[in-house]
């Protein structure tokens, strides 16, 4: 995997942050949800990102998360598809290409966040 994949992943995270933060309804829904989420692209060695949700707003950093509440692990293309809204998390989760580690409620909530942005 190339630097291009890494750049595409980071661009997708930028887009996801923009969509989360501009959505007033989603901010309201997530106002109590303060979570750190590790994003691991398993085919990009040494490339990790950490998402921070605080009071309904999202930030992300191109570094590993310390003691994350949720860990998302998938090939870069799967992660890019999810964060860009090209695909939902459901199918990769069900076919095993996306693994989610965290409490069931947190995992479900992350799915809801994605669907509230991209679902139609």
């Amino acid at each position: 995997m190339s630097d291009a994949s890494k750049e595409r992943l980071f661009a997708a995270l930028d887009l996801f942050r923009e969509k989360v933060n501009e959505n007033a309804r989603l901010r309201q829904m997530n106002r109590d949800w303060n979570r750190d989420i590790a994003v691991v692209a398993k085919d990009l060695v040494g490339v990790e990102a950490s998402i921070s949700m605080r009071a309904g707003l999202m930030e992300w950093q191109p570094q590993s998360a310390e003691n994350p509440h949720i860990v998302l692990t998938a090939p870069a293309d799967v992660l890019i598809g999810i964060f860009r809204g090209d695909s939902t998390p459901t199918e990769p989760y069900l076919d095993g290409s996306l693994t989610l580690r965290g409490t069931q409620e947190d995992v479900l909530r992350l799915d809801f966040v994605s669907l509230m942005i991209w679902g139609e």
Binding site: M29, L108, M116
Partner: protein, 306 residues
């Protein structure tokens, strides 16, 4: 004698068997809980398929509705399709009519429900007819679909917003394992007495909807409030009495000492009619409900009204 078998993803602690008479026809009813085990439920259905007159699927929905749009729950459909010969139903064939009528009955035949009654409806996409009936009556309603299924502190207050959120979420959520979306098996016996989401209970006069969602965060005290739900056991009713509820109303009648889920009532109608669900259709079910004259069961728990 007709034989109706209920297969539920719910707790086996709620298992029961009864013989009831409906329109002069004896019906043997058996309910089998599989403790959240989808494979076991599927195996039970395959085993009884062809040996009973109808199967009711409990503890799971096959279809959810919002504003005329139907959404499929994949695991529910899998169970329904496991029955190749015997008709299997989830209650959605009668729920809309039965629960809509129950709200109208309570508004016109009792003093419990008025347009001023503040309603917390814990989940509406599994009983959209009831949701619409409250709104038609003019009640202020909080739809708790996001609160109770995903733990999101977001009260939905209009049917339009409910339908919008359903359109975004349900096509994908319906593909997820049902156990992620709804308490099944032992989870149904657990209760989180944490005070979480208590404000939504506090602000309501009536708590309505699925019993397992109602119970999920049920506060220690619900003095002066009443509950409208689907199926309850004597243990559930004692729990509500202890917490101060004034009344519990179930949308289905008591038979053999307890109320049965809409899935079993629908299965009984299918068994009595001798037709398949698709032959009965909406009008056929409505005609049977009219003949059965089912009215809600109202139990006064002795609590003091607010």
């Amino acid at each position: 004698m007709k034989r109706v078998y209920g297969v539920s993803l719910g707790s086996s602690q709620r298992d029961h068997a009864a013989q009831v008479t409906m329109l002069d026809e004896a019906i043997e009813l058996v309910r089998k809980g599989t403790d959240g085990d989808l494979e076991r439920a599927e195996a039970v259905i395959r085993e009884i398929d062809g040996t009973v007159d109808a199967i009711g699927l409990g503890g799971i929905d096959v279809y959810l509705y919002a504003r005329g749009q139907r959404y499929t729950v994949r695991d529910g459909l899998r169970l329904m399709e496991a029955a190749k010969e015997t008709p299997a139903v989830d209650g959605s064939g009668i729920k809309d009519t039965l629960e809509r009528d129950a709200v109208r009955y309570l508004a016109t035949q009792t003093t419990l429900l008025t347009p001023q009654t503040r309603v917390l409806m814990v989940s509406a996409v599994d009983r959209f007819g009831m949701a619409e009936a409250f709104v038609e009556l003019g009640c202020p309603v909080v739809f708790g679909d996001l609160i109770f299924s995903a733990g999101m502190p977001y009260p939905i207050t209009t049917l339009d917003e409910l339908a919008d959120i359903a359109r975004r979420i349900l096509p994908e959520m319906g593909k997820m394992p049902f156990t992620m979306l709804y308490p099944t098996g032992k989870e149904q016996e657990d209760h989180q007495d944490t005070g979480r989401f208590q404000e939504y209970y506090d602000e309501a006069d009536l708590i309505a909807g699925d019993w397992h969602y109602i119970r999920k965060y049920l506060p220690a005290r619900i003095d002066g409030k009443w509950v409208l739900t689907n199926t309850t056991t004597s243990k559930d009713i004692e729990e509500l009495r202890r917490r101060g509820a004034t009344h519990v109303v179930t949308t289905t009648p008591v038979m053999g000492g307890r109320s049965f889920g809409t899935n079993l009532i629908e299965a009984m109608i299918v068994a009595l009619s001798g037709k398949r669900p698709e032959e009965l259709g909406h009008e056929g079910y409505a005609a049977w409900l009219e003949r059965l004259r089912l009215t809600p069961r109202i139990e006064d728990l002795g609590g003091t009204p607010a």
